[in-house]
Amino acid sequence: MNPGLRLLALRLARGRLRLVARRMRTVRGAIGIGATALFLLGFAALQVYGASHTDVRSGIPAPGTMRTLVPALVTVLTLIAAVSERGLYFTPPETAFLFPAPIGRRELLLYNLLTRLGVQLLSGLWVSLFTVRYAPLPAAAFAAVMLAFVYMYVAAQALSLGAAAAEAYLSPLARNLARAAAIGVVLLVAASAAMSAAPGTAGERFRSLLQSPAVRAVSLPARPLGELYAAATGGAALAWGAASVALVLAVVGLVLSFDVAFTERSLSVGQRVQRRLSRVLSAPAGDGEGAVHPAPRWRARAPRVPLPGRAGALAWRQATELLRTPRALLGPLIFGAVWLVAMFGGMRAAPGEMDAGRTSVLATALLMPVIFGNPIPFDFRRDLDRLAYLRSLPLRPTAVAMGQLFPAAVFFAAFEMLVLLGAARLTGSIPGAWLAGAAVLVLPVAWGAAAVENLLFLVLPYRVGPDGRAGAQFLGKALLLMVLKVLTLGVLAAAGFAAWWGVGMLTRSLPAAIGAAGVVMLIPCIPLTWLVGRTFARFDLTADAPAP
């Protein structure tokens, strides 16, 4: 490999450590990194304890399930990575320095593979903490997870290069035909798998879906990883481990042997990723000259919101931008689907049984904002580079806070209701009155969560980089946020419950009890919003904003 590339890879690794050390010198950085370290250590200790004590280990799923679940998951994640255009991603400094430099195509690809390997292995390490306990041999499962992350990255690169080759060598007609064929295959597989799913609970249907010939055929290349994960003996683990390593090396060989000029595609992918992250996470980015943007036929537009203090204009702006960024809603939808399957997948109450439904309403309404955070960052978090502009507006800080929080709270409340309706459908045990009650209560809960989220963001701001990577103290801030949310939502819930119980006892009317709880829970949101406004007004633009 080019000696400059080797030097760059080493210097970048050292540079990241240097940035962490520099952040540690500030109080905010030290708090964030310290909390991150505590979080990681505590979590790892719990997982290791759980994995090493058979009495606390969860039931191990049947090896047959894992043999198909792991390859299917790996295949789906690989396809998502390839479709989301991260396969050939180079950061802006890399494109600026390396693309015009006298570096061969393979060298550049090898550099990309090796420098991203660390992130893949760290991700694998993190995921293995959650997953090894479900395998017969934890060591084999650990190896399988680590290799799976490397495989997913190189396979996504191979698919991206294949797409680049198709662009370079196929005529527009042939490309369209190939694209239609690919979509057709995906639909065929999905339809075939859905048809072969056996009736029963969601869990049973999911298991039969995994065993369907279509899913098994599509995930066949990743099969060695599933076998390694489910290996029950040392011999099997060694054999499937060797097969998995061979699989990864074969894909690396495939990537390096693709004779296709990828820099142009990488550049456009990089620009798209930049623009998308800029839209979703921070300030607007200029469009590069030469970029192709077909004008949309129709643009979504949020209705005007009559909020006091002219905060409605800000709320309208955030909501309209959110509606025009449909990809921003993709993450929450995936979260919601995962939550539904995880929480309610196998749950179906007996006729007349309501406990499960009530529990799920409470769990969803209160736990979702704590666990997920607000996955729709259309508030102060997205406006880190626009704080100067927001400060220049002739609005009171509380009005700015209200305008910024309103869309995030409303969209999150709507998202929660969507999940609740899904849960009601899956379990069949959530009474209509409880759903109506939830419709009233999710807004104060979502508002409280958004206020806490933004408050902590303004006290300990962070920036997600153009490559999607956050600072080292990001997890620590997430932990602090979770604790603060538990406290705040706990207070809100207690106040709401007291009002519910009190008014319910007095009036014997469920609507009155729900209404009272909603009002009582909304009241603390007022000082919270004021506090967010005060923190925004005191934010030091020159010292507090992290460097881009």
Binding site: N2, P3, G4, L5, R6, L7, L8, R11, L12, R14, G15, R16, R18, L19, R22, T91, P92, P93, T95, A96, F97, L98, F99, P100, A101, P102, I103, G104, A168, P172, A261, T263, E264, L267, G288, E289, G290, V292, A547, P548
Partner: protein, 252 residues
């Protein structure tokens, strides 16, 4: 080298049905500074990226120092440098480490002395140990320029180089470019403001909607479009805001 260092022959680039660059032909000899001018969307950046071997041409050829950038990309790139419009630096590397890395990539031996001289020339000597994210935009731009100059390229490509520079920075950059051209480098710099670079450039290539409207020396430009008005800026507006462009080709 006596012949043209940068040669474009019928360069075309299209994205699906959209034509970004259409049959552009011109060349830049050693020691010349050519301004690639045109309004936004004229195809300047695409042209520069094609010369730098980043965009594969859809038609035509591009040669740098005699090497075809498609067939001999590594040899061609060894002789050129591109300074992009947005100075994207590695935020966790220092200024000096950027130069060290560039020297390794291009195989520059004994790079420390020239690197230190470049930092002096670009008024960055005091910031050599600063991390990239501690620098202002103008300083980052200068670091990108220093890295581009370190291997002594025969062809220097600048994409909107004046963006973000203060008047002092612009003057410094002008001097740096003039010195490199006097030493024999072929310089091609893009700008959408002809008036800003007319004092620097000895030749111009004017583009609009992906097509080359004019390529020649400053005097030829004045001579050909004298009727348009006195200043080159007025000539520029005349050329780029008229009716459908009439492509012309000549060596600047």
């Amino acid at each position: 080298m006596t012949g043209p260092v940068i040669e474009l022959a019928g360069l075309g680039k299209h994205y699906g049905d959209r034509v970004a660059v259409d049959g552009v032909t011109f060349s830049v000899p050693a020691g010349r500074i050519v301004g690639l001018v045109g309004p936004n969307g004229a195809g300047k950046t695409t042209t520069l990226r094609a010369i730098a071997g980043i965009h594969a041409p859809s038609a035509g050829t591009v040669r740098v120092a005699g090497h075809d950038v498609v067939r001999e990309p590594v040899q061609a790139k060894r002789r050129l440098a591109l300074v992009p419009d947005e100075p994207a630096l590695f935020s966790s590397l220092t200024v000096w480490e950027h130069l060290e890395f560039t020297a390794r990539v291009y195989g520059v031996r004994d790079w420390r002395e020239p690197a230190a001289a470049l930092l002096e020339e670009l008024e960055l000597a005091e910031r050599r140990d600063s991390l990239a994210d501690e620098l202002s935009r103008g300083m980052r731009q200068k670091v990108a320029v220093a890295c581009a100059l370190l291997h002594g390229p025969a062809a220097l490509l600048f994409d909107e180089p004046l963006t973000g520079l203060d008047p002092r920075g612009i003057r410094t950059l002008y001097e740096v470019i003039r010195r490199r051209a006097a030493a024999g480098a072929a310089v091609l710099l893009s700008s959408h403001l002809l008036g800003q670079i007319e004092g620097l450039c000895t030749g111009f290539a004017v583009m609009r909607q992906g097509r080359l409207l004019f390529a020649g020396t400053r005097d030829e430009l004045r001579e050909r479009y004298a009727g348009a008005g006195g200043s080159l800026e007025e000539v520029f507006f005349h050329l780029t805001e008229g009716d459908a462009p009439r492509p012309l080709a000549a060596a600047p």
